[in-house]
């Protein structure tokens, strides 16, 4: 009679009798691990980029922070490592290279103000205004803020729970819209805010001969899944404004086009403002295809100086076919340039018909799906209850030439937030992304929409822009 346990014991003895040695550990392993730990940046949890509710833009704002690398453009005859990138170190709350460069050329910031109410203090500073944007910092401080933050932030300056203390600003002179970056510690909440103006918006404001920039502000604590708690409200904040100090932008109409896969990119207008340059671009692509980004887009002048995107906003979307891209610092304060060059190393193009995937929780994972001829692996999908609300998490493994900015579930208001992104995306390997979506009822199947998805076409292009 077959005895399974006896059989297994005999197999154990058989194998144990054979094994004598072990896998040798390379002596260099320890160093490699230590180096990797040293070079891995651990993100400060308290510094996040979010769009504050009251500052959501009317147009879709896509925040893309380009890396500092500049690629080689053979026709310029200059090696990439030799291309100087004008980047000025500036504390994040004060702005970016563009605002700092303008200040160094004597473009005056608007004088800041302090407002106080019931022991809560708001300090507005580093205010700079041109026809392109309004940038400033706001700091909430004072005894009452410290009391609030002691309840929310521990001694190691980490959040005690999922709440987020923040400041919201509403512009009373301009349309709703803007973005911000928030940081806080046990003493204060710090916000860098930016309002990018639509065409003509700043000019219309200046025509009214304003004496002030008018704002309202709120200090509140945001809780996930629950209502926000208002701490203090500030109405009628007035920042003294002198219209005579504003330098007006210079605009250049462009008529150049570049061929790309599935269509044409049209360079329409270049606006040069004191703090930033803006390039308006149109896309004429075949039906079913849409633009979703450039790879390493920059401007270059005839001396070989490169200008890149930096800061809260790098790209704005004005509709189906028109985009604006921003570059710093500005050439506004330099001797007149006859020409600039625009260059990129690739273009991301998305497919309208491939834009959604079906996630079925009863499926066996991993599962491969196709996006524009490339494999995306759904490594897993899970629905769980947290604090009484359902959370759907989806794990995607994507090749380097596919990107997705986010996910949505059809019929649900919220967007997925990225829980995790594998750092392999930085070094050319397929990379894991984990997305989570809260407050979602359980369903066996979801139609998940890929936001701003695209496939990379590696084409290097450069184009001369004549500034007349």
């Amino acid at each position: 009679m077959y005895n399974k346990e006896l059989e297994e014991e005999k197999l154990d003895e058989y194998v144990e009798g054979l094994i004598k040695t072990d896998i040798e550990i390379p002596p260099e392993l320890e160093d490699r691990i230590i180096q990797r730990i040293k070079t891995t940046p651990v993100r400060n949890k308290n510094t996040i980029k979010i769009s504050v509710n009251k500052m959501l833009a009317a147009a879709v704002i896509l925040v893309m922070l380009f890396t500092a690398s500049v690629k080689w453009i053979p026709s310029f005859g200059v090696y990439a490592s030799n291309i100087p990138v004008l980047k000025i170190a500036v504390e994040w709350i004060r702005g970016d290279s563009g605002t700092e460069y303008a200040r160094r050329h004597g473009y005056e910031s608007i004088e800041g103000i302090v407002v106080e109410k019931d022991g809560y203090i708001l300090t507005f500073d580093d205010i700079i205004f041109d026809e392109d944007r309004l940038v400033f910092s706001v700091i909430a401080g004072g005894d009452k803020i410290e009391e609030l933050l002691e309840d929310l932030v521990d001694e190691d300056e980490r959040k005690k729970n999922d709440s987020l203390p923040t400041i919201s600003i509403e512009f009373l002179d301009f349309e709703e819209g803007g973005s911000s970056q928030i940081d806080f510690n046990r003493k204060e909440i710090r916000v860098k805010a930016e309002k990018t103006f639509k065409a003509g918006e700043a000019a219309a404001f200046l025509e009214r001969n304003p004496q002030y920039i008018q704002l309202s502000g709120e200090i509140f604590v945001r809780f996930p899944f629950e209502h926000n708690i208002l701490i203090e409200e500030f109405k009628d904040i007035k920042i003294p404004f002198d219209k005579e100090k504003v330098l007006l932008s210079k605009k250049y109409m462009l008529m150049e086009e570049i061929e790309v896969p599935y269509g044409i990119v049209k360079m329409k207008e270049l606006t040069i403002s004191p703090t930033r340059m803006k390039l308006d671009v149109g896309f004429d692509l075949e039906d079913d295809y849409l633009f979703s980004g450039f790879e390493s887009l920059y401007l270059m002048d005839s001396k070989g100086n490169a200008y890149q995107s930096e800061g809260l906003i790098s790209m704005m979307h004005h509709g189906d076919e028109n985009f604006s891209f921003f570059f710093v610092p500005s050439i506004y304060f330099e001797d007149k340039h006859e020409e600039l060059y625009v260059a990129f190393d690739g273009i991301w193009i998305g497919s309208i018909k491939d834009n959604s995937i079906t996630v079925n929780l009863t499926d066996t994972y991993p599962k491969t799906i196709n996006y524009m001829g490339e494999d995306i692996i759904i490594e897993g999908a899970n629905h769980s209850n947290t604090n009484g609300k359902g959370t759907l998490t989806v794990d995607l493994l994507m090749p380097q030439n596919i990107k997705v900015s986010g996910l949505k579930v059809e019929g649900h208001e919220g967007s997925f937030y990225r829980l995790f992104r594998d750092t392999n995306y930085l070094n050319g390997k397929p990379y894991d992304n984990q997305y989570g979506l809260n407050a979602l009822d359980y369903s066996e199947e979801y139609n998940v929409i890929l936001i701003n998805a695209g496939r990379l076409h590696n084409i290097s292009k450069q184009l001369k822009l004549l500034l007349k």
Binding site: L18, T21, R158, T423, D432
Partner: protein, 171 residues
């Protein structure tokens, strides 16, 4: 592992994190090597797993499961590498020291290792963890996120096949 190390690591203390992962480096490397059978790839997989663990350590809910959690990350990195490279795993010549082995045993050992290499890495790792690294069946199951019964069936099922192969060769 020193008490409180993981809690400190979760608060951003890189030194504590370093100590925690270095205490597991040998085990992590052996598991990676079992999958990848290549020294450089295995070191890469471990380093990638260390980076991923450092970036995600705050998500670990219970510090006592750090070892299981970290080894799972190592295994995932190995799977990613395998998917990328679709390598045919070949036996590394520098894997073993033969000092204490008789010639007969050495030939059997080589045969066993060659036999193991023809297994799917996900089956091979189970055998390595049990017989090379001293994991109990329950520990193998916990780390691999499999039922214990499944682990047992796969280990002994494969060993029976491999033993039959070796016996045929010897015969």
């Amino acid at each position: 592992m020193e008490e409180g190390l993981i809690i400190k690591a979760q608060k951003g203390d890189k030194d504590s994190f370093s100590k925690a992962v270095l205490s597991l480096k040998d085990e992590a490397y052996r598991i990676a090597y079992c999958y990848l059978h290549n020294k450089e790839d295995s070191m890469d997989a471990v380093a990638d797993a260390v980076e991923k663990a450092l970036l995600n350590i705050s998500k670990l809910k219970n510090d006592k499961y750090f070892k299981t959690w970290f080894i799972r990350i190592v295994i995932n990195e190995c799977k990613i590498q395998l998917r990328q490279k679709q390598k045919i795993i070949s036996m590394a010549d520098d894997l073993y020291k033969y000092d204490d082995l008789s010639k007969t045993n050495r030939e059997e050992k080589i045969d066993l290792e060659r036999s193991l290499t023809i297994l799917d890495p996900s089956d091979r790792i189970l055998i390595y963890m049990k017989y090379y690294m001293g994991y109990t069946l329950e520990e193998v199951a916990e780390t691999m996120n499999l039922p214990t019964g499944t682990v047992k069936t796969r280990i002994y099922g494969n060993l029976k096949l491999l033993r039959n192969k070796l016996e045929v060769r010897e015969g």
